[in-house]
């Protein structure tokens, strides 16, 4: 399953994007999203970044808080974050 991280906002506003392949079943991904949703960012900050994940082809984005990730997603996030590149 291809998981996509998008980092948008910031003073620049331009989105950055990265993707990784994860060996997850749709059910495992649904559970992961439920965990991520429980730890969503608590407040919006002017010029702060929004970060969200989605599975390729899925019509559902999940906002994440990089400082409050579920343990099971931390390594995946670190891998995605390294690959972030601006969408030109």
């Amino acid at each position: 399953m291809k998981i996509i991280l998008t980092k948008s906002g910031g003073l620049i506003g331009k989105p950055q994007r990265a993707e990784i392949d994860l060996d997850l079943t749709p059910e495992q991904w649904r559970k992961m999203k439920d965990l991520l949703k429980k730890k969503k960012p608590s407040k919006t900050v002017a010029d702060g970044f929004n970060q969200y994940v989605e599975a390729e082809g899925e019509d559902d984005t999940t906002l994440i808080d990089p400082v409050n990730l579920p343990v099971s997603f931390k390594e995946h996030y670190a891998e995605l974050e390294k690959k972030l590149d601006y969408l030109k």
Binding site: L11, I12, G13, K14
Partner: protein
């Protein structure tokens, strides 16, 4: 867990300690150390700033009132607190400069001190507004911040209490303290929090962004003594490395950068027919994309007024932004048009060039 590979964002510890934690393979230990270090750092910072204010008897927020003088008849002055996050994801960090200290040595500290002073003077000299909240709130700024200790932070934010600046990646972005218009932009987000309280999403969020840019450019123009015709109307000209690039253009939204090797093309729009509908997860509903529309309205209005932007049009935009009846948290561009026209009429009359120019500005941006 504070594992160097697993959770870069929370870590505030030096690399050698992180390596030690890695070697112990004890994630609970890592978590405890990080939480303790974060709490200690926050406590130290708050204690340091409170101590400083208490020592001098200058708890400004208690003592200063809005207007020409405070309760003791003294002309208000800006109160600065500059902190250094030391490349860590902690705010505000260590207090490195306060009023009365010798000039700061750190160039970013110098930049934010100058930028915030010029912005405070702009609001006070022109509108008698004493600081962000109008009653002398200290200007708290945090420099050398990183979300991840191993990665430079290419951004600047207003977090509701303070302005926070990253150093930039030095490849595409320089330090985010380099442009006075960006410092004024962030500080103005604070002013909006204490006035119109525009919700930071969709059209009201784009208005919030635009007010921050409008006051950002006026502070820059006033500091450089530039008329509307002399100004280049660029926001973040020095932050984005390369002479031909800037973060945004108010004169020609969408032309701040083109074919940039790192970030491509500027996506801002200038007119309502190009308004971009985005989800709230994407840039809070496109706040930095659609802010080009009210930005362009201001530019056209200012250009048609002539002279200095802050002399007449600045008064109109400030009066609109701080009118809690005309501007509400969910106001849209059309509300801003109506508010600025109302204020232009009240301040300069319906037959004035200012009133005419305000209407022409919004018309040019197709907000009608």
């Amino acid at each position: 867990m504070c594992n160097n590979r697993r959770n870069p964002v929370n870590c505030i510890l030096p690399p050698y300690i992180l390596e030690k934690i890695d070697q112990t393979n004890n994630s609970d230990l890592g978590d405890q150390i990080v939480l303790t270090a974060q709490a200690t750092a926050r406590f130290r910072s708050k204690r340091a700033s409170l101590n400083e204010m208490t020592k001098k008897g200058k708890a400004g927020f208690l003592r200063t009132v809005s207007g020409d003088t405070d309760l003791e008849g003294v002309l208000p002055k800006p109160k600065h607190l500059i902190y250094d996050a030391g490349g860590l994801p902690i705010t505000p960090g260590e207090l490195i400069w306060k009023d009365g200290d010798p000039a700061p040595k750190d160039k970013d500290a110098k930049n934010v001190l100058n930028g915030a002073t010029q912005t405070w003077k702009f609001y006070y000299d022109l509108f008698k507004r004493n600081s962000i909240d109008g009653i002398g709130m200290p200007l708290t700024q945090c420099i050398h911040y990183r979300e991840d200790p191993r990665k430079p932070f290419s951004n600047a934010i207003w977090d509701g209490e303070q302005m926070i600046y990253g150093d930039g990646d030095t490849i595409f972005f320089d330090s985010f303290t380099r442009d006075i218009d960006i410092i004024a932009h962030e500080l103005t987000h604070g002013v909006i929090d204490y006035s119109a309280k525009l919700e930071y999403k969709f059209e009201s969020g784009a208005l919030n962004e635009s007010f921050a840019d409008v006051f950002g450019i006026m502070v820059k123009q006033r500091a450089k003594k530039e008329s509307v015709k002399k100004s280049n109307w660029l926001i973040g000209q020095n932050i984005l490395l390369g002479d031909e690039y800037a973060l945004r253009s108010m004169k020609e939204p969408g032309s701040g950068y083109k074919n940039h090797p790192g970030i491509g093309d500027d996506p801002q729009v200038a007119v309502m027919s190009d308004y971009i509908n985005m989800s709230q997860h994407q840039d809070n509903g496109g706040v930095h994309y659609n802010s080009g529309i009210p930005n362009f309205a201001f530019y056209v209005a200012a250009f048609n007024c002539g002279g200095n932007s802050w002399d007449k049009l600045g008064k109109v935009w400030y009066a609109a932004m701080t009118d809690k009846i005309l501007m509400k948290k969910n106001s849209k561009f059309l509300d801003a048009r109506n508010a600025t026209l109302t204020k232009a009429e009240l301040l300069f009359g319906k037959a004035s060039q200012v009133y005419k120019a305000v209407g022409e500005g919004w018309d040019a941006a197709e907000v009608k």
